[in-house]
Amino acid sequence: MNEQSILAIVERHRHRDGPLIEVLHEVQEQFGCIPAGAVAAIARGLNLSRAEVHGVVSFYHHFRTRPAGRHLLQVCRAESCQAAGGRAIEAHAKQRLGIDFGQTTADGRFTLEAVYCLGLCACSPAAMLDHEVHGRVTRESLDALVDAAAKAG
C-alpha cells in the first residue's frame, strides 16, 4: 500500500455524498483489506477524524484489517441452511481446513468465514468460494471445491 494510491481512491469518490463506505470498498478491493496505514490517509482525504474512519471499519463485518487468504470460503450459518444440514457443513469446513470461522490457514491459502444468508435459501445449504456461489452443498462437494481451489494456488 502507498499513500498515493489511497489518496487517488479518495479523490475519485470525494465529490459523492457520504463517500466513506464507497472508499473503503475500493480500498479493500485493491489491497485485500483496509491496511492500518490507510485509515489516516482516508481520514485526511475526507476531512474526517481517524476515530470516525476506524469506527466505520470496525462496525461492518465485511471490512477486514488484515488480508484474507488466497481463497475465501464463506459458509452460510443462517436458519434455512441449518434446516437443510448446514451445521454439518460448517463443521466439515472447519475440520477440513483445520481452522475456525474468522481464521486463515497457516499456509495463507484459505480464509474461512461465516455468513448469514446468501439469498440461496431455496438451495440450502449454501456457500460462496471466491465470490462463486454454491447450493445444496454436501461434504463431498465442499471437498471438491476446496481441492480445486487448492490446486489453483
Binding site: 465485511h62 444468508c117 465470490h131
Partner: protein
C-alpha cells in the same frame, strides 16, 4: 443450424451449476454441428428444477430441468434442440401446475425475458406504469398507490401510500427515494431474484416514486452478499440512462429529472433497519436513529426520504399500469394484492410462490413444497426471517396474511418460510436467535447488546442441563426486557423466535433427546 436456448443467469441457478450446463450445451451442440444462441434469463423461481433451461422451438419454449452439465450429452442425443421427449422434459413451463396456479404480478416478467433487454421489457408491459404516473401527476399517483392497499413488503407492512403522501406533503426541495435491498432475512430471496431477473421494474418503480413525490435522486442500498445483483443493476441503470430519457434530466420527455445509483452495504444485518440503512448510506456506522423524526420528514442527509423495500417498489409499476382496483382485487381483508412467498429450508420443492394473500402455511408446504427434502415430517416453520416466530404443526392452517399471523403472535415479514423436519432441536434454534442478535446488534441499547449475550449463554446452559428452571426464568425475563426496552426490531423482536420456541416446543427445553 442455429437454436436459441435460455439458461438462467440467476445466482440460485448458478449455485446449482447453470454455468457449467450452459458451457456443456454450447460445446456439445457445436460438436454436432449446431450453434446454440445462448440467452440468459432470471429464474422462474422453481429452484427444485434448476438449472431449468428452455429451448426455443417453432411450437414455443420447451423447458427441461433440472439439467446438470453431465445430463447434456444424453439430452442432445435425444433431440433436446428440437424440443423432443426426455425424462427431464417439462414442456411449456408456464403450464406447469407449480407456476400455472400462481398469480404473478410483481414477478410477471422474471424468468421470461433477458433482464437487460429493454425492448423486451417494454414489449412485456414495462414503462406503462411510469407513463400513466406522468399523465396522472403527483397527487393522483400517490392516491393510486394508497387506493391499491399496498403495504410495505420489507417487514413492517406499513401502508406505502401513506408514506408517499407524507413525503409529497413536505415542502419542495431536496428529497430522496431509497430502496432497501439489504434482504438480510434468512429464507428470503425475492429481492435478489427480482433485481437479477427484472431490474428495470425496480428502476421504473423508483422513478414513479420520484415523480410522485418530487424527488430527483434515488439510492439502492444493496447488500454486499449479492454481487450478481450488483452487476445486473448497474448494467440496467446504464441502459436506462442511455436509452434516451428513462433516467436522467428529462424522464420520458416529462421535463422531470430522476437518476439513481447503487450503494453497497458491508455485511451488517442491522443496516436493513431503515434508519440504520440511512446512516450507512451517509457513510457512517449503521447505528439506529431515534424516531421521530420519521425518514419521510427528515431522512437521508436530513431531507424527506421514502424508504421502501425492493418488492414494494417493484410492485408499483403494475399498480399504476393496471389500476389500483385490479391490484386490490387480489387478497383478503387488510392484506391486498399478491405476496411473493419464498419457500426455503428443509423442503422438497423450494422456490418462489407469488399468490394473492390467504394461502395457508400447510397449502404452501404441501401443495407447493411437497413436504420436507429429507422425507421426514415437517415439525416447525419459521416465517419472516430471524426475528419471526416458529410455528408448530397445529398452527399450519393459519393463512399467510398480516392480521392472521399477528393474531397468533407471528409475523409475515418479508415472506420467507423456512421448514424444519423433526430432527430440529428447537432449544438450539432459540439459542441461535439470541446469538444472532448478539452478533448483529448495533450496540445502542443495553437490553439488545447485553441481553442477547446473556440469553444465548443461559440457553446454552439449559442445553447442558444446568440449573434449567432458573436459566429458563432468566431467559423469559431477558425477553421481556428486550421486548419493552429496545429501540428497534432487532432487540425488540428477537424474543419472538425464542419465546415461540419455548412455548410450542417446550419438550426440547426439558431434555428431549435430539432426533427423537
Amino acid at each position: 443450424m442455429n437454436v436459441t436456448v435460455w439458461v438462467p443467469g440467476d445466482a440460485g441457478a448458478l449455485a446449482l451449476g447453470a454455468q457449467a450446463t450452459a458451457q456443456a450445451l454450447v460445446a456439445g451442440a457445436r460438436a454436432a454441428g449446431t450453434e446454440v444462441r445462448l440467452r440468459r434469463n432470471g429464474s422462474r423461481g422453481l429452484y427444485w428444477l434448476e438449472p431449468l433451461i428452455e429451448v426455443e422451438t417453432p411450437a414455443g419454449r420447451v423447458a427441461y430441468g433440472p439439467v446438470r452439465a453431465s445430463d447434456v450429452p444424453a439430452l442432445l442425443a435425444s433431440g433436446l434442440l428440437d424440443g423432443r421427449a426426455h425424462p427431464l422434459r417439462l414442456g411449456d413451463i408456464e403450464q406447469h401446475p407449480w407456476l400455472a396456479t400462481q398469480q404473478r404480478l410483481t414477478f410477471a416478467r422474471v424468468g421470461r425475458i433477458d433482464p437487460l433487454d429493454l425492448a423486451a421489457f417494454r414489449a412485456a408491459g414495462g414503462y406503462r406504469g411510469l407513463a400513466r404516473a406522468l399523465e396522472l401527476g403527483p397527487e393522483a399517483t400517490v392516491n393510486e398507490v394508497l387506493e391499491s392497499g399496498l403495504r410495505g413488503r420489507g417487514g413492517a407492512a406499513f401502508p406505502t401510500g401513506i408514506k408517499w403522501q407524507t413525503v409529497l406533503r413536505q415542502p419542495p426541495g431536496r428529497k430522496y427515494i431509497t430502496c432497501n435491498a439489504d434482504e438480510g432475512d434468512s429464507g428470503t430471496y425475492s429481492d435478489r431474484m427480482l433485481m437479477e431477473g427484472d431490474p428495470f421494474t425496480l428502476i421504473e418503480g423508483m422513478t414513479i416514486a420520484g415523480v410522485a413525490v418530487g424527488a430527483t435522486r434515488g439510492y439502492i442500498y444493496l447488500r454486499v452478499e449479492y454481487p450478481h445483483a450488483f452487476r445486473v443493476l448497474n448494467a440496467a441503470i446504464a441502459k436506462a440512462r442511455e436509452a434516451g430519457g428513462l433516467l436522467g434530466a428529462d424522464v420520458m420527455g416529462s421535463g422531470l429529472a430522476f437518476d439513481l445509483e447503487v450503494r453497497l452495504g458491508a455485511g451488517a444485518y442491522i443496516c436493513g433497519e431503515e434508519t440504520s440503512m440511512l446512516e450507512s448510506l451517509e457513510g457512517r456506522r449503521g447505528e439506529v436513529r431515534v424516531r421521530p423524526p420519521l425518514p419521510a420528514e427528515k431522512g437521508l442527509f436530513g431531507a424527506p426520504t421514502i424508504v421502501n423495500n425492493v418488492i414494494t417498489l417493484a410492485t408499483v409499476p403494475t399498480i399504476l399500469a393496471n389500476g389500483a382496483t385490479a391490484y386490490k382485487d387480489y387478497g383478503q381483508a387488510r392484506s391486498r394484492g399478491t405476496l411473493p412467498l419464498q419457500l426455503a429450508g428443509n423442503i422438497r420443492r423450494g422456490g418462489l410462490v407469488e399468490r394473492a394473500f390467504g394461502l395457508t402455511v400447510r397449502e404452501l408446504l404441501e401443495d407447493y413444497g411437497g413436504g420436507s427434502m429429507s422425507g421426514r415430517p415437517i415439525r416447525a416453520v419459521q416465517i419472516g426471517g430471524p426475528l419471526g416466530a416458529y410455528l408448530p404443526v397445529s398452527q399450519f392452517d393459519t393463512p399467510l396474511e398480516y392480521e392472521a399471523l399477528s393474531a397468533i403472535g407471528a409475523l409475515l415479514g418479508h415472506g420467507g418460510v423456512v421448514a424444519f423436519d423433526d430432527t430440529v432441536d428447537m432449544l438450539e434454534m432459540a439459542r441461535y436467535a439470541m446469538e444472532f442478535c448478539a452478533i448483529e446488534s448495533c450496540g445502542k441499547c443495553t437490553p439488545c447488546r447485553i441481553g442477547s449475550v446473556r440469553g444465548a449463554e443461559a440457553l446454552a446452559a439449559v442445553g447442558r442441563g444446568e440449573d434449567r428452571d432458573r436459566q429458563l426464568a432468566l431467559v423469559e425475563e431477558l425477553c421481556d426486557t428486550m421486548l419493552n426496552a429496545s429501540l428497534c426490531g432487532l432487540g425488540g423482536m428477537t424474543p419472538f423466535p425464542v419465546q415461540s420456541a419455548m412455548k410450542h416446543f417446550a419438550e426440547d427445553f426439558r431434555g428431549r433427546t435430539r432426533g427423537g
